[in-house]
Amino acid sequence: MDELNALFGGFAVALSAYHLMLMVIGITLGVVIGVLPGLGGANGVAILLPLTFSMPPTAAIILLTSIYWGALFGGAITSILFNIPGEPWSVATTFDGHPMAQNGKADEALVGAFTASFVGAIFAVVLITFLAPVVAKFALKFGPAEFFAVQFLTFASFIGMGRGSAFKTVASMCLGFALATVGLDGVTGTLRMTFGQDELLNGFKFLVAVIGLFGIGEILCSMEDGLKFNGAAAKLRMDAVIRTWKQLPRMWLTFLRSCIVGCWMGITPGGATPASFMGYGIAKRLSKRGDNFGKGELEGVVAPETAAHAAGTSALLPMLTLGIPGSPTAAVLLGGLLIWGLQPGPLLFVEQKEFVWGLIASMYLGNVVGLVMVLTCVPLFAAILRVPFSIIAPSIVFICAIGAYTVNNAMFDVWMMLAFGVLGYLFNKLRYPLPPLVLALVLGDQAESSFRQAMLVSQGHVGIFWSNWLCGGIMTLGMVMAFWPALQALRAKFSGNGAVARTA
């Protein structure tokens, strides 16, 4: 129970008017940053880092982590309202969040997303409080083979859990991988697929693709359907919070599953983005209402948000205990710690007790403050949907252009965004799934390099992926997932119904 005593000590540090004020400021800034495309949690924290040098370390980290929480909350807002993910980890939130907004339930989707974020974050903070040293040790066991296994499982689950044509899923996913290979090869330093074009040196950045595929693609679809913006019917009722909360308790199992997936991905450093996709995929497969996913199901908002925030928060665990950041934002915070003269690692818990426990206590408080703040603003956010479509549509194109430009400061990316917009429209029409493409673009480089590293270690033997129980277990599960549609088809054939085996 040493942890509890230390935690109460931490609350004593964090609960001061000054610190609470910093939390409010930080969360407001964070929400703004999360809403704006092109400004992520990592950029936001990095931009504001210099402002904190004159503050005491505890106050500084409270401000910066509050910005982080705010950005995590804020990413959900644009995903739900405009189908533009403000942050990569809110991509999965758009799948059900935006349909909900189109059905006039934007307020419920927002409340659900915020509450889910809160639950995920608190679960991860509790985990940090009690399991920090134990779990961090486990993450050290991860080698390239294990990394590849986790990534393989993530991709295989798309095939296994997809609703549409498995072949379209594979085509879409492989296109993402192919686009991810464009540019400088990280292992050998050779140029790939650039065909002498200098603009392609940097490769295709997934944010550009996401902004085009989702943002511009969505605008094209709504323009084709006619003038009216589908979400315009959103009603603003103040009882949205209570209405939504009444629905949440029956999803406790989804919450729990997403929390576990999220914490696992955050600590191992899988990151918040794959965590949100996995959380969504698992909920879709296991939930009773899984068939409704994608049409505007509250559970489909809750599952990825919970997982993303559990991952985003637990990513701070390896940073504090081992000095290994689990996410880009955690890496920036790590830089901050070093500037304040604090050495992250196991000794931090011994030498800077007050700082560490103050930080952990501020994670609890920051999330409570954040939840209260964003919930009271839900009507305000939902009101954005009442703006006429002929203002919203060009403004979104403008914002998308800003987002695409800021990724690399290149106009080429803005042109690519328009091209991806057309692709997004076509994919949408023909039911090619977009998420596998996006995730392959995000993780393609990592997956390829961990595959190649693992191959180097084993000198080309695929057996390395089954060399220990951890890696082998994950790989086997992945294989089952990848061939799930084929297995289903076989079973349908042998069940004797004479039904035509279709990979649907």
Partner: protein, 170 residues
């Protein structure tokens, strides 16, 4: 929903046409990547591991096979495939936002993103939204100025700027 669309205008493309076109697009991408992968080498290099082309080669091989299946499924004339995917008015409406968007991006190179965005939003509001000119002016200028303050002044993120911003000293 689909009956509504059919009543609305002349059909342009069927789902079958679009499906075949997209499958062919995938096959073209597949061919391009394969050519470059073969140039990079797809074999095992002793002491260095797989050559850079190996991973992309097998990835697009899978993509090519999947696209061939998609193509084969799209080719037969089925009632589902003959359904109208897009109509002429639908394409026209999409062009109404997309063509100006292309011009907007093109203009950004010369007059900066803020000025061209103000023109883009303003003209779209007047011609498509039938807003009075003063409202369009207020909204488009306000949007450009708010974004300018946000990105250039507060967050110090430089975006493409043109002669007007230079005149103000940015």
């Amino acid at each position: 929903m689909s009956s509504n669309e059919e009543a609305e205008g002349r059909p342009l493309f069927s789902y079958r046409t679009l499906d075949i076109a997209v499958a062919l697009f995938f096959l073209v991408v597949c061919a391009i990547v394969m050519v470059d992968s073969l140039r990079l080498g797809i074999t095992w290099k002793p002491n260095e591991g797989p050559r850079p082309g190996l991973f992309p080669f097998y990835i697009v091989l899978a993509m090519g096979i999947a696209s061939l299946v998609n193509l084969a499924q799209a080719l037969p004339r089925t009632p589902g495939g003959e359904k109208t995917a897009t109509t002429v008015p639908g394409i026209m409406r999409m062009a109404a936002i997309f063509v100006p968007a292309v011009l907007f991006v093109f203009a950004t190179n010369y007059i900066g993103i803020y000025v061209s965005a103000a023109i883009y939003v303003g003209t779209f509001m007047v011609f498509f939204g039938k807003f009075p000119v003063w409202k369009a002016l207020a909204v488009s200028l306000g949007l450009a100025i708010v974004n300018f303050m946000m990105f250039e002044v507060w967050f110090l993120v430089p975006l493409p700027k043109g002669p007007l911003e230079t005149a103000f000293g940015y």
